[in-house]
C-alpha cells in the first residue's frame, strides 16, 4: 500500500480509502482557492462561498428574462425562428440583451451548479444528516440539462437542428424509444408546428420542476442562503451585461434538414454531450450519464464515519426560551408544551434532522458555568461532550496554567486543531463546533484569572454546520442571545477565522495576542475575579 494511504483505517476497503484521500485533497484545494479569493472579496462577497445562492440567483435571472422571451415567441415552424431573430436585430437594446442574459445566465448556472456539487463533496457534506440535501440535489442536474438543451431547440436554427438530431440519436439508443425519434428530423417536411408548442411547454415545465426540486433541496435547513450579497449580484449581472454587449447571443442560420449543421459555435457548457457522443458512442455516453447518476446517488451510502449522538433535552433545565430553536441550523428543534412546567414550552429534537453540531447547547441560557451544581446539567446538551465536561476541562486546564500571561483558546473539531496550541500558559479546548461555546464560558475563564481569550472557527461559508461562526460572532458582539456580558472587555478577546489548513497563521496570531497582553498594549482591566463555590450533592 502506498505510503500516503497507510494513515487511514485498515478496516475500510482500498477504494473507499482512495476516495476519501481524493476528497481530502480536493477539500484542501478548495480551501486554498477560497482563502485566496477571501483576500479580494472577503467572506460575504466571496462567490465561491455562496455557490448555491449564486445558482438560485442565476435561476431568477433565467426566469425573469425567459418570461419576456416567451411574450414575443411565435410557435409556428416559420415564426419561431423569425420571432427570436427579431429580438436580436430590431430590439437589441432590450429583447436582444435579455436574450443574451438568458443565455449567459444559463451557462453560468450549470457552471455554478457543478462547482457547488464538487465543493459539497470535497467538504464531505453529502452523507449522514446531509444525505437528504445531496440526494435531492442529484435530479436537479438532469432537470438543468434538459431545460438547457431544450432551450437551444426553440430557436430552430442550425444549432437547434444539430442538437435535436444528436439528442434523438442518443435517445434512440435506449430500448424505450425503439429507434424512431430521430426520424422526426429526417427532412424539412417531417416536422410540424405542434413540435414547437410541445417544446415550449417542455421548456416551461422542466424549469418549473427545477424550482420545485430546489424548494425540496433546501427544505430541511433553516436560514437558507437564498441570495448572494448585493455586491456579488451586481457584479455578476454586470458581467453578463458586458457579455451581452460584447458578444450578443445570436441565432445561427435557420435550420435546414437537407444539410448537415456543421461548423457551429457550440455552447460547451450545455451541449458538450453531443461532441462527446460523436467521438465515443451513444453506449459510452449513456454509460457515463447513468453511471455518474448512480454513483452520485450511491456516494452517501458508502462506508463513512458513524453518526454522532444527537442533542438531548433535559426537561428540568429547559425553560422554553426557544433560543436553541432559533439557532439550530437544521430546523431540528421544535417547541411544544412543557410536561412539568405549566405555561412553559419545551424543546424537542427531531433525530432525523439533528446534525449533532452542539450549536443548541451554546444557545441555551442554562449552559452557564457559573451555576453552582457539582454536575452542570443544561437544557439541551450533547452526550459526546456535555457542557459539564466542557467546564471540567476548562477548570482542570486553568488549574495547571502558569506564567505571566495566561490564555485560553476555544476552537472546533472541524477547523484548525487547537489542541496543539496548549502550553504552560495556554489552555486549549476543542468543541464539536465553535457555535457550541456559551459566551458565559469566556467570562468565566477571564474571571478565573486568565488574561485573554481566543475563539477560533471556520471562515465564512466554511462552517461545517453552516451557522456556527455567524452565531458566535453575533453572541460575542452582543447582537444575539445568549450574549457576552458587557463586563467582558472586547480587547481581551480575539475572534479568529481560520480554515482547517491555517494552523500556522492561527499560532502566529495567538503569539501576537499574547505579546500584546504581556506588553500591556491591552489596557482594560480583567473583570472581577470569581471563584465557584462548589456544592456537593449526595
Amino acid at each position: 500500500m502506498a505510503k500516503w494511504l497507510t494513515g487511514a483505517s485498515v478496516t475500510e476497503p482500498p477504494d473507499v480509502i482512495l476516495l476519501s484521500s481524493l476528497r481530502g485533497n480536493a477539500q484542501t484545494l478548495f480551501e486554498r482557492i477560497e482563502n485566496f479569493f477571501d483576500a479580494f472579496f472577503g467572506g460575504t462577497d466571496n462567490p465561491l462561498r455562496h455557490l448555491g445562492a449564486l445558482g438560485l440567483y442565476f435561476l431568477w435571472i433565467l426566469v425573469a428574462t425567459g418570461l419576456y422571451l416567451y411574450t414575443v415567441l411565435d410557435t409556428g415552424i416559420e415564426g419561431v425562428y423569425n420571432s427570436i431573430g427579431y429580438l436580436s436585430r430590431e430590439q437589441w437594446y432590450l429583447g436582444g440583451i435579455l436574450r443574451s442574459l438568458h443565455r449567459y445566465a444559463s451557462d453560468a448556472f450549470v457552471l455554478v451548479m457543478m462547482l457547488h456539487l464538487v465543493r459539497e463533496w470535497a467538504y464531505g457534506r453529502y452523507y449522514g444528516f446531509r444525505l437528504y440535501s445531496w440526494v435531492t440535489g442529484v435530479p436537479l442536474i438532469w432537470l438543468a440539462y434538459v431545460s438547457g438543451i431544450g432551450g437551444y431547440w426553440i430557436v430552430w436554427d442550425r444549432m437547434a437542428q444539430f442538437s435535436a438530431i444528436a439528442t434523438t440519436e442518443l435517445l434512440d439508443w435506449l430500448p424505450f424509444f425503439n429507434g424512431a425519434t430521430a426520424r422526426n428530423f429526417l427532412a424539412p417536411d417531417t416536422i410540424n408546428d405542434r413540435f414547437f408548442t410541445v417544446l415550449v411547454f417542455i421548456h416551461l415545465i422542466v424549469p418549473l420542476l427545477l424550482l420545485l426540486g430546489l424548494w425540496a433541496h433546501v427544505n430541511r435547513i433553516s436560514r437558507v442562503d437564498f441570495l448572494p450579497s448585493r455586491r456579488v449580484m451586481l457584479a455578476t449581472l454586470i458581467s453578463f451585461l458586458a457579455l451581452a454587449l460584447i458578444r450578443p447571443a445570436l441565432s445561427e442560420a435557420p435550420a435546414n434538414l437537407a444539410l448537415v449543421a456543421t461548423d457551429l459555435p457550440l455552447d460547451w457548457f450545455i451541449l458538450f454531450i453531443h461532441p462527446l457522443a460523436d467521438i465515443t458512442s451513444p453506449a459510452a455516453v449513456w454509460t457515463l450519464v447513468f453511471g455518474a447518476t448512480i454513483l452520485l446517488f450511491a456516494l452517501p451510502f458508502l462506508p463513512h464515519p458513524k453518526a454522532q449522538p444527537i442533542a438531548v433535552v433535559d426537561a428540568a433545565n429547559c425553560n422554553g426560551c426557544s433560543r436553541c430553536h432559533a439557532d439550530c441550523p437544521y430546523e431540528a428543534i421544535t417547541m411544544t408544551i412543557h410536561p412539568d412546567k405549566p405555561g412553559h414550552k419545551i424543546a424537542v429534537v427531531d433525530p432525523d434532522l439533528c446534525a449533532s453540531c452542539g450549536i443548541c447547547a451554546g444557545a441555551c441560557p442554562s449552559s452557564t458555568p457559573f451555576r453552582s451544581q457539582e454536575k452542570l446539567v443544561t437544557g439541551i446538551d450533547m452526550p459526546q461532550q456535555p457542557v459539564d465536561v466542557m467546564r471540567q476541562q476548562l477548570e482542570a486546564q486553568l488549574a495547571k496554567l502558569g506564567g505571566a500571561t495566561k490564555l485560553v483558546v476555544f476552537g472546533c473539531d472541524q477547523g484548525v486543531d487547537v489542541r496543539g496550541l496548549a502550553a504552560a500558559d495556554t489552555a486549549a479546548i476543542s468543541l464539536i463546533c465553535t457555535g457550541m461555546l456559551p459566551p458565559s464560558f469566556i467570562e468565566y475563564a477571564l474571571r478565573s484569572g486568565v488574561d485573554g481569550i481566543v475563539v477560533t472557527g471556520c471562515r465564512e461559508g466554511g462552517c461545517d454546520f453552516r451557522l456556527g461562526m455567524e452565531w458566535t460572532q453575533e453572541r460575542l458582539a452582543h447582537q444575539r442571545e445568549p450574549h457576552l456580558r458587557n463586563l467582558v472587555p472586547q480587547d481581551r478577546l480575539r475572534l479568529v477565522y481560520a480554515s482547517r489548513s491555517e494552523g500556522e497563521q492561527l499560532a502566529a496570531m495567538v503569539k501576537e495576542f499574547k505579546t500584546q497582553l504581556a506588553t500591556r498594549l491591552v489596557t482594560s482591566n480583567r473583570p472581577p475575579a470569581y471563584s465557584r463555590r462548589k456544592i456537593h450533592h449526595g
Binding site: 479569493f37 483576500a39 479580494f40 472579496f41 472577503g42 462577497d45 462567490p47 443565455r103 449567459y104 451557462d107 453560468a108 457552471l111 444539430f162 440519436e169 434512440d172 425503439n178 429507434g179 424512431a180 430521430a182 426520424r183 429526417l186 427532412a187 457584479a235 455578476t236 454586470i238 458581467s239 453578463f240 458586458a242 457579455l243 460584447i246 458578444r247 447571443a249 434538414l257 437537407a258 444539410l259 448537415v260 449543421a261 456543421t262 461548423d263 457551429l264 459555435p265 457550440l266 455552447d267 460547451w268 457548457f269 453531443h274 461532441p275 460523436d278
Partner: protein
C-alpha cells in the same frame, strides 16, 4: 470599505469569470463532419409482412359463426432484410427485427454514413417478408452529393416504396 487592491483583484476575477463564460458559450467551433463530406442517412420504420394461411372448410365450421375469418394470420411480423450498395460495392446489410413482445411492431433502422462529396450509384434492396426469396423492393439511382448534403433513404408505401430525398 474595500481596499483599492482588493477592488482591482475583484475586477480581474469577475472579468476572468465573464471571459470564461463568454468564450466557452460559443467556442471552439464544432465541426461535426469534415468540409468535403456528405451524409447518407438510411432510416426506415416499416411493418414487416405476415404469413397468413387459408382455413380449411372443416376448421371454419368448428369456429363460432362470428369468428369465421377465411384467413388465419399470426400476430408476429416477418424480419426485414435490407441491403445498401454504393457504386456496386456492398456498404451495409442488415436484418431488422419487429419490435414488441409479440413481434408485431414496426421494424426500424437508422444509420448514418459519411461519404466524400461526389457522384455515386446508390442501390437499396429490401425484402419485408422473408418467407419469399429475393427482394420485393429495389431502388437504384445515380446521385451527386454536395458537401454537407444529407441524402435520406426512406421507405413509404404511399410514395411507391423505397425513395431518396
Amino acid at each position: 470599505m474595500a481596499k483599492p487592491a482588493a477592488i482591482v483583484g475583484q475586477i480581474i476575477l469577475y472579468s476572468a469569470f465573464a471571459a470564461f463564460i463568454g468564450y466557452f458559450a460559443t467556442a471552439p467551433t464544432y465541426k461535426q463532419i469534415p468540409d468535403d463530406v456528405a451524409l447518407i442517412k438510411l432510416s426506415m420504420s416499416h411493418l414487416g409482412g405476415r404469413e397468413c394461411r387459408k382455413r380449411t372448410a372443416e376448421e371454419l365450421a368448428k369456429l363460432p359463426p362470428n369468428m369465421r375469418a377465411p384467413l388465419e394470420c399470426p400476430r408476429g411480423r416477418s424480419d426485414i432484410k435490407l441491403v445498401l450498395e454504393l457504386d456496386g460495392k456492398p456498404m451495409f446489410e442488415t436484418v431488422m427485427h419487429p419490435t414488441g413482445l409479440s413481434k408485431d411492431g414496426v421494424s426500424t433502422v437508422y444509420k448514418r454514413f459519411e461519404v466524400k462529396a461526389g457522384d455515386y450509384q446508390i442501390s437499396v434492396k429490401m425484402n419485408d417478408n422473408l418467407v419469399n426469396p429475393g427482394f420485393n423492393y429495389v431502388k437504384e439511382a445515380q446521385v451527386t452529393l454536395k458537401p454537407a448534403q444529407v441524402l435520406v433513404i426512406d421507405f413509404n408505401p404511399d410514395k411507391g416504396g423505397l425513395f431518396f430525398q
